[in-house]
Symmetry: C2
Subunit: 78 residues, 2 copies
């Protein structure tokens, strides 16, 4: 079964670059990738925070948060 | 042709976790992944810095550096 990978972003240039480099690069046989725009879908902020996401862009894979470079603090999106 | 992705790490727990999550997760049809241990192979530090790597773990894909979470400053490896 494919593992779930969630990519959280906020539409910033750093996010878009990371999305191109990673979200589209994960092995599609292994991962089911969901892309979530936290600037537009604020209802997902809570789940992102609960998974340990502090800034975007970030991935959550197997329940762990991986921050990639630095786009924006989650606090700025509330 | 496969794109080159270089994963720089220093054997730290944060690095090992990122390697499991990402270095082994990139689509093998698209990427030729090289894993470089900068703590053991200091001769690669210069190329990593030139690509913009400031800390490990980090990927360099298409010449751009992507830092994942935070393991160690490159300066600590010199």
């Amino acid at each position: 079964m494919a593992r779930k990978a969630t990519f959280y972003h906020a539409g910033c240039p750093v996010c878009a670059d990371a999305e191109t480099a990673f979200a589209n690069a994960l092995d599609p046989k292994e991962f089911d990738v969901e892309v979530v725009h936290l600037g537009e879908d604020k209802s997902r902020l809570r789940e992102a925070e609960e998974a340990g996401v502090k800034s975007v862009p970030a991935f959550v894979i197997d329940g762990r948060a991986y921050h990639i470079n630095f786009g924006a603090e989650l606090a700025a999106l509330k």
